[in-house]
């Protein structure tokens, strides 16, 4: 593997295999398509285009999936008059990946107004991906009918009450959580006591070495509470996940990529396939951000996730739709 300049970060001050400065550097680059891979306990960061030149990271990826988010089917305002074609561009991007994903995760705001035809359009567009399975969790725009009836009709069949569920793929445990129902006035996202109890029971039988991936719409960490970018009771869920050696939390809602690492938990938010939103506090409100037409697709994207057994952190790669 070629080595140039700053690509390899081998500083390990704490002798725990975690290169903290490297993590921060990775996070700063994440929005522009950076692969952060833990190999042999050492964090390496590679620019996405170089990674594609080299092919796979060392060690075949055992499990590969793609996260998309916030397709907002039905949105038709100036920020993006054609969310259908940008979702199709995301599908093209998925189909062009060097390793075909086994399934897709959609982290919510599938539709803009919870309408049946909007759910149907997204379902239909996603059948064009080479991967057949799509797992969804709802965003607040998917449950605007109050009790989420339309969403649950589409995606609640194999789920617990409220739409939460869990499943396993190749020894990795996935939890799909719903934090957009029964929200209180002035509040943030909410998991609720019943769901937290269910999470506790769901995780009980797992060994601490089981990699866990949690996906939910609203971020499970405090990105920017003033704009509702956080979940009130996420700390309680994270306490239940504390004993696990590798936890990845995948969220949407904020329409931009962001990463945070806390101990053995990596938090990551995906870009939208519909429209971007401003960075925290950089605008009066978190609404759709209008940009010149030629810049739009650079701010929309997909997230490719690869799991290599024996490595703590999943390789999470964001790429835009350009």
């Amino acid at each position: 593997m070629k080595q140039t300049g700053n690509d390899e970060l081998l500083v390990d001050h704490n002798h725990d295999g975690i290169n903290r400065r490297g993590f921060l550097k990775c996070m700063a680059w994440a929005g522009t398509g950076t692969l952060c891979v833990m190999q042999g306990g050492v964090l390496k960061s590679l620019a996405l285009n170089r990674w594609q030149e080299m092919g796979q990271p060392q060690g075949q990826s055992e499990l590969s999936f793609v996260q998309i988010s916030d397709s907002h089917m039905g949105f038709n305002k100036p920020a993006n008059a054609d969310v259908v074609s940008t979702l199709k561009a995301a599908v093209d991007k998925i189909n062009a990946l060097p390793q075909a994903p086994e399934f897709l995760l959609h982290t919510g705001d599938i539709t803009h107004l919870s309408r049946p035809e909007q759910f149907d359009t997204v379902k239909q567009i996603l059948t064009s991906t080479k991967t057949k399975d799509v797992f969804y969790v709802p965003g607040e725009h998917d449950v605007t009918d109050g009790d989420g009836k339309e969403y649950l009709q589409h995606y609640g069949k194999n789920a617990q009450s409220g739409g939460r569920y869990s499943f396993d793929k190749k020894g990795v445990h996935f939890l799909g959580l719903v934090n957009v129902m029964n929200l209180k006035a002035g509040g943030l996202g909410s998991l609720g006591a019943e769901q937290l109890e269910w999470i506790k029971k769901d995780l009980e039988a797992l060994t601490a070495s089981t990699p866990v991936i949690v996906f939910a719409h609203i971020p499970l960490w405090s990105v920017y509470p003033e704009w509702g970018w956080g979940t009130e009771d996420s700390e309680q869920a994270l306490a239940l996940l504390k004993r696990f050696g590798s936890v990845t939390v995948l969220n949407g809602h904020i329409h931009q990529t962001m990463q945070k690492v806390e101990g053995s938990v990596t938090f990551h938010t995906a870009a939208s396939t519909a429209f971007p939103q401003p960075a925290p506090g950089k605008a009066d409100s978190p609404g759709p951000m209008k940009v010149p037409a030629e810049q739009l697709r650079a701010l929309l994207g997909i997230t490719d996730v690869n799991f290599v057994r024996g490595q703590q952190a999943l390789a999470v790669v964001d790429s835009n739709l350009v």
Binding site: E140, T144, G146, K184, A185, G186, G187, L188, P288
Partner: protein, 113 residues
């Protein structure tokens, strides 16, 4: 001739005014007020009205919002897209805190006297 014209114009003007004011009618029973939703904000944030007022919320934002009373029962609109509206008549005095159930950080209140 001109004075008559002036008087007619004045009369028409005054009649017109009475019809479009949307304020207190002759018997003082019907009141209307409006709340504008834009930039993730209800404006005015506190609306004070007499009992019997019909409040109309209009969404001017480029994102949908709802108008839901804090208890989620007293009044609850469906999702309002841009230019959609929702009305509710407040018959009982009191303070009614409400929010957008899609973006719960958006809160406001109607004070009914």
């Amino acid at each position: 001739m001109r004075r008559e014209l002036l008087l007619v114009c004045a009369a028409v003007f005054l009649l017109g005014e009475a019809q479009t004011t949307g304020g207190t009618a002759a018997n003082g029973k019907t009141n209307q007020a409006e709340v504008e939703i834009d930039n993730f904000t209800f404006a005015p944030v506190t609306l004070t009205v007499p009992a019997g007022t019909t409040v109309k919320w209009v969404n001017r934002d480029d994102i949908p919002h709802t108008v839901v009373s804090e208890d989620r029962r007293t009044f609850k609109s469906k999702a309002l897209d841009t230019d959609d509206s929702f009305s509710y008549t407040f018959t009982q005095p009191g303070t009614y805190t409400y929010f957008c159930s899609i973006h719960p950080k958006m809160t406001a209140k109607v004070v009914v006297q």
